[in-house]
């Protein structure tokens, strides 16, 4: 199976955003890569039905669903379908250079560490609005809340983050 050109363009344009979102949520660069692949494979399965002008928010929604699913299954010690695929000898590839840089770069390390001190909804709003620069409407849709609430949360998150940056936690 080959993807079509439209899908390839979308993957090249958005896969890093999805990857970062997953990385900050899992703190695991390898798992983030695996789930990124899963996100786009799921999107490809329903490609014809997906609204392309709304694709960014849809991809984040898929990522979020997989993440929730993954953490739930982790509790039941079930695996991601992707890990099963890997056991059968299919090796996904990783950008080792990038992963090494992520572990060295002071700025990335500081942001990653600081985000972990935020409650999950504040962390999410920071990633979506301030890092990935989604609109308040898109963020509200992904977080299943209102635009007004997103604005309140983003303010609260930044104020809290300011304190974390200052005090180191």
């Amino acid at each position: 199976m080959r993807f079509n050109e439209e899908f390839e363009n979308i993957y090249i344009r958005y896969s890093d955003k999805i990857y970062r979102y997953l990385y900050f949520n899992t703190k695991d660069p390898y798992l983030a890569e695996d789930i990124t692949a899963e996100v786009f494979l799921r999107a490809w399965k329903k490609w014809k039905e997906l609204k392309k002008d709304y694709i960014q928010a849809l991809l984040f929604k898929i990522a979020k669903n997989i993440l929730i699913d993954y953490f739930r299954k982790q509790k039941n010690k079930k695996q991601l379908s992707l890990e099963k695929a890997m056991e059968k000898g299919i090796e996904p590839s990783y950008d080792e250079d990038l992963i090494e840089r992520m572990h060295i770069d002071e700025n990335i390390k500081r942001v990653t560490k600081s985000l972990q001190f935020l409650p999950s909804n504040l962390k999410e709003v920071v990633i979506l609005r301030f890092i990935e620069e989604l609109s308040a409407k898109e963020a509200a849709d992904i977080m299943k809340t209102t635009e007004g609430n997103v604005r309140v949360l983003q303010y609260r998150a930044l104020m809290k983050l300011k304190g974390i940056f200052k005090n180191g936690r």
């Binding site: 692949a37 090796e91 992520m102 301030f130 604005r151 983050l161 300011k162």
Partner: protein, 231 residues
């Protein structure tokens, strides 16, 4: 972060209650947060996903790297199917579902090897015999007898052994069939023997005409020798 986006965000923050001083501080923080956008996976990695599509998992036959094996296995199954159908068809009788396949393989074989036509004639006669033994309906027998006639005509007198063998089969079949079919078989047999007689005759006349040519040559030779004698 682009300036207009940053400006819009800061405006939103002000609306939600941030003071001017806070907004200033938050602006610096936004820059810091944006720095993690340098987390970008390599182009090679992305291409690998798009071209290699490594994680799609629907059993081994669906992996691109097994594409060749997939084609080979399906062609093998197809080939086995075709061959076994063709083999099974060789024993079929008129009216059977595989009989068409039998006729088709015969045509193919005769196209490659014309001497196989003799075998085809014998096969038709055997079919008439077997149909008569199994007391099949008269229409089928008559149809097969007619087919026999056509095939035998195509044989054009060569391979007389096969014609004799086929005639023997028809003679045996005659014992088991209805009066009407019996007459049909007799008519075909008679036509066949007349035709073979004609063929023998035409061969003989050909020989005769050859000897005629010879005698003319002889006469010319005699005239020539007379001429030289007179000289």
């Amino acid at each position: 972060m682009e300036d207009n986006k940053k400006y819009k965000l800061l405006e939103e923050l002000k609306e939600t209650g941030a003071s001017d001083r806070e907004t200033e501080e938050l602006s610096v923080m936004l820059e810091s947060l944006s720095s993690v956008k340098t987390i970008e996976r390599s182009y090679e990695l992305k291409r690998k996903f798009l071209v290699g599509n490594p994680i799609e998992n629907k059993g081994f036959l669906f992996f691109p790297r097994f594409a060749f094996a997939k084609v080979a296995i399906f062609s093998l199954i197809f080939l086995i199917g075709v061959v076994s159908t063709a083999v099974a068809a060789q024993k079929s009788l008129p009216g059977d579902s595989l009989y068409g396949v039998k006729r088709l393989t015969e045509k193919a074989r005769t196209a490659v090897d014309p001497s196989f036509q003799g075998e085809v004639v014998v096969r038709r006669s055997e079919e008439v015999k077997r149909l008569s033994e199994e007391k099949k309906e008269s229409g089928l027998i008559k149809q097969t007898v007619n087919d026999y006639e056509k095939e035998a005509k195509d044989l054009n007198g060569i391979n007389t052994d096969k014609i004799d063998e086929s005639k023997k089969n028809l003679e045996e079949a005659k014992q088991n069939v209805s009066e009407e079919d019996k007459k049909e078989i007799e008519r075909v047999l008679e036509d066949r023997s007349q035709e073979s007689n004609n063929e023998v005759k035409s061969l003989e006349t050909k020989n005769e005409s050859n000897s005629g040519e010879e005698s003319i040559l002889n006469q010319e030779h005699k005239v020539d020798s007379k001429f030289s004698e007179e000289k």
